[in-house]
Symmetry: C3
């Protein structure tokens, strides 16, 4: 299959023609990537990617979770075991296994992203099959050895204006410093992701607290010192380019405790003898503390709650975190966000971007909240919903109540670097498709739709994330 110029547009000729015109306005705009998980060392070291499997399969949990669901062992895909036990090390064998199961991805965004990557990045135009697997492997492997396929060259080729990575407060940001010092013009910023030192149930939380103290010189075992340490690290991150923070809690719970119970709670947490509800309350309180600091230092706050992390304990024991077993859960926003909103909801100098994995809240809770509170904006469809149908549902469900201008455009949220252009392209196409429908149904004039298309693709993310 080769990429069709009208892909993802409505097949209805009226809508398709409008979508084409709108897309022509945005197809060439630079990419703003305000939230993602690419490895900053790639840009710092600018080394060649090793091989097709290491680049495209082994680190991509979208891919290996689907294969795993159909009985393929992670060992056979080269995913490293925590115990160092044997796993497949031949990238070509991994690639062939992947090709044998390519049909599983029919109808999924992974299929679209990879088709796009194969064709536009590696010039592969034949379909991946067991028969073509070796040819395609060889072609990609060959390309990866070339200088124009190094990370910085790709960054420029992708027309990335800026990309944000995501780091823990404990990260020294050496790679970001190296990028800055290198004289390379590509703009790579960090984002402040404090979960490891803010979530008492995060693996290694206590060690993190200790380390945070050592890095900052603050007494992180006192409430005051702990907050000061976080504030200091936020300052450091901001200095290194960060414009945002990022918070991935199990729920959207927020709290606004008085000083005395806040101290007591912190002491319970630090003691290590806490109940799950203490951890939940502490995370809730910390979101409000982070909002307070954001009001001071101007970092945009991103909250994306509702994932049940590491749902599969066997897999976690054998392979570790982030192996495709994070499952979305039903999430409440109306009650959960109220303590934070009661305190900061009417601020004009604070910006809180909400993402969700619970689509039933788009129209019921999130759009009504974002269509009222000055601090709130809606992030794009997240993760599983970063897909053609998912994006379309988001616009259909959120726009009528929140409008376009309480949303912040797309982010790719990915560690799959080569897929970044494909992902932004899908988002731009779907937004143009949605706008084309509004125009074709005489709900919006085409000149206005064109302005909105550009806003969604470029201006809104740039403004919302202060990039």
């Amino acid at each position: 299959m080769s990429l069709h110029p009208d892909r993802l547009f409505s097949p209805d000729p009226t809508q398709r023609d409008i979508a084409r015109r709108l897309y022509a306005e945005v197809a060439g705009l630079p990419l703003i990537s305000p939230h993602g998980h690419t490895d900053p060392s790639w840009y710092a070291k600018d080394e060649a990617f090793p091989d097709p499997a290491a680049l495209l399969i082994i680190p991509d949990h979208y891919i290996f979770r689907m294969l795993y669901s159909q009985g393929v062992r992670l060992e056979d895909l080269g995913v490293p075991r925590r115990d160092g036990g044997p796993v497949e090390t031949d990238p070509r064998a991994i690639w062939r296994r992947f090709a044998e199961h390519w049909h599983l991805f029919r109808g999924t965004p992974t299929r679209m992203w990879l088709d796009h990557t194969f064709e536009t990045l590696f010039g592969v135009e034949e379909r991946l099959t067991p028969a073509s697997a070796d040819r395609i492997y060889d072609r990609i492997a060959d390309r990866l050895t070339r200088p124009e396929f190094r990370p910085r060259a790709l960054f420029e080729r992708f027309h990335l204006e800026v990309i944000a990575t995501t780091e823990s407060p404990l990260d020294p940001l050496d790679h970001h410093r190296a990028i800055r010092d290198s004289g390379w013009q590509g703009r790579v910023v960090t984002a402040f992701r404090p979960d490891p030192v803010v979530d008492p149930e995060f693996d290694g939380f206590r060690d993190g607290l200790q380390a945070l103290g050592e890095i900052t010189g603050e007494d992180t075992h006192s409430w005051r010192g702990y907050l000061a340490a976080l504030q200091q690290r936020r300052g450091f991150f901001k200095q290194m380019g960060a414009t945002s923070t990022d918070h991935g809690h199990p729920t959207a719970a927020t709290a606004d405790l008085d000083p005395v119970p806040a101290v007591t709670l912190f002491e319970t947490i630090v003691s290590g003898r806490f109940e799950p509800q203490d951890a939940e309350l502490f995370r809730a309180q910390m979101l409000t503390e982070m909002a307070r600091m954001s009001l001071e230092d101007g970092l945009v706050m991103q909250i994306h709650p509702g994932s049940f992390r590491n749902h599969n304990p066997t897999l976690q024991r054998e392979f570790g975190r982030d192996k495709g077993a994070d499952i979305p859960t039903r999430t409440d926003y109306v009650r959960a966000l109220k303590p934070l909103l009661d305190r900061f909801g009417n601020e004009r100098d604070l910006s809180v971007i909400l993402f969700t994995l619970d689509e039933s809240t788009y129209a019921r809770e999130l759009a009504p909240l974002a269509g009222h509170y000055p601090v709130l904006r809606l992030g794009p469809p997240w993760w599983f919903f970063d897909s053609p149908e998912g994006m379309l549902r988001f616009r259909e469900l959120a726009t009528e109540t929140a409008g376009f201008y309480n949303t912040v455009g797309f982010n790719d949220d990915t560690r799959a670097f080569p897929s970044i252009p494909a992902r932004h392209d899908v988002a731009r196409r779907i937004d143009c498709r949605y706008l084309a429908q509004l125009v074709a149904e005489h709900r919006l004039d085409e000149d206005e739709a064109a302005e909105v298309a550009i806003d969604l693709a470029y201006r809104l993310p740039k403004a919302a994330y202060k990039l």
Copy 2:
């Protein structure tokens, strides 16, 4: 943008042509407005509306919530403060501020309603922009001075067959009496909305109870007297034209207590020393009491639960209720309605119309309940979902299980009088669009679809509300 005759129809030519034919059958039918919040004094006094801002912006929380969400102060839109503090008083300045932010409404129903109102009511055909704002303001202001723009003239121009307003049991209904006594032929009826004297957490509940006693001569501090007073007021409302009651509780909870615990609960409520769960149980019990009275006096019962009222305490303190900060919440119906349904669900002489703000219940709970229980009917998509996409989702989600004939057609639920024709027009167009799709997909014959279109636009609301 000028109104396109095919707006909101599918752009697919087959569906569009069918939709046109269906719409031609209903476009000219009189409007039935069985549920809304226009001010009866308008029809009683028949005075000119003061100015464009006072008519279209200041009272419309759809409009000012969106502007507020983007940082516009309510004071700058002329919304009165509770402390009497200064707010913008120049209607033209308010209008200009509104025009500057008109792009925020792209893709929203507010935009469609106002475009329709501007063009069909005021003859405005240019788009609202900062440049055109003054011209449009002047044109509307001029029209408002003319006799044909007085409320009664508009009522007739809108082809309203009947409109219902909504009043508290404490309301003397003087305006309704004045309308009746005036000899004017327009039919304006009231609806009985007892929330202020039935919800213990309603502002002023205790004073309301007192007033209810004074109006009725009943001892409203005894359970028996309280029920008798409500029954008496229902009788009075019915005499003044009411055909329905209207109940806006936080949840859909109903209860069916035995007499002794019911008395005890009432005494706890009257004492003022009650917990939130007592208030919830009392509201729940009162829905069942209201159903019992409806079975006796024939008033149709409307229940629309699930809004978290006044979510923003700062705003409520400064500007009062109903300022755009009511947020929908997840709502259960299957368990909540059971006590009422256990007692009255199989009655053939009782009619309970359910509205919701939780669309996830359309297909899962509401359509299955309404497709079984004789007393239940489904009201139209409510509030935020009174929109093209919202209405379409309602039909797609509810029809297959409840059919069309367990729904009751449209109501505009609005206090924005000039928008009434626009709102009914959107509803009629979307229903014709949905029916056209069924016909185009050979799921329904066109002659049947035409009959359904007329039922939805006219016959069903007239029958369901006994109008």
Copy 3:
């Protein structure tokens, strides 16, 4: 209305043409019916169906629930009362009453199924109306007397390759034995539905336990004996052709108790002095026990939770179970299934098929779970959602995360034998429609879509149910 060859396809010419081609690939494939509720005595005895009302109306709760919702008494439709009180016995009178209310089914799947049955099975081409009711009745009644309308002839005419019925562990499966012994080639298998002896709140549970002991010779009042008895009956069902078990619990709760608390819980249940939460925990534990046995004996496990059974106590008292008053409820899967998944989720030799009545979980919970856990597959849209819009939503919501190959194709789940071809036809058309859209939007090549269409219609159900 006569059946249109393009019914249910998109009216857009591009999509319609692709859908036609895809449908041509699957229209003639044999039917696999892996889950349903037809009466095995029909196939065993092969007697003529008595009359149109007894065949099409009296046993179909889709039909009489809709009529009941609009005030028609069940007595007037010939539904037998538990007290043996008088009900309509004239099938023609029932049929006329049904015809008078035929408009209620506009837009519902019942309408589509019956139109299909009338035309393709009975050669009726005129619309059902009060005027045509007698003619149509006579025609159907005449056909039912003919040998080619006996159950076995219909089975063959329907091109059924295999049909599964559903029986209690207490059922001796005499009809299945008779079918097998008859020499008839039609393949009718059973499915093991243990709810009556596994759900302590099922009517007659204690008697069932007793009977289970008598049938198996096990002491079913000891935990060990009870489990052995179930295992034995599973073996017997398997021997009689069963390839699956079927579990219809109120929630998806699973548990994995240690042996000692499991025994204690069982003893509480057997004592009859248990609380609702004990019953819930027992059902939860039993799902995990059933999974364990499935891993041993290879029976595929079907779980379809989330129905609030017999919601209408008056109706249940007067007419019994299964009278259209089962109402879906909100259902959690992420937490509920975890105990079972923690223990068996990574098995490659166990297959658990999940159905739901809570569509809000398709994209949020079920597709992510099935797209990860090797044991999980997604069953088709269930019951109220076994409808054109319901099936389309399922594909739109589930495919992007779970793909097609973690779904198992269609099942008709019906006791309405004549409607089986209509139901499979709707499913095949909707799947082709969905695939045609993917092709028309250049998200999938047409040759791949054709392969998927055949997989969904035939290969996947055959494989998933081991048929």
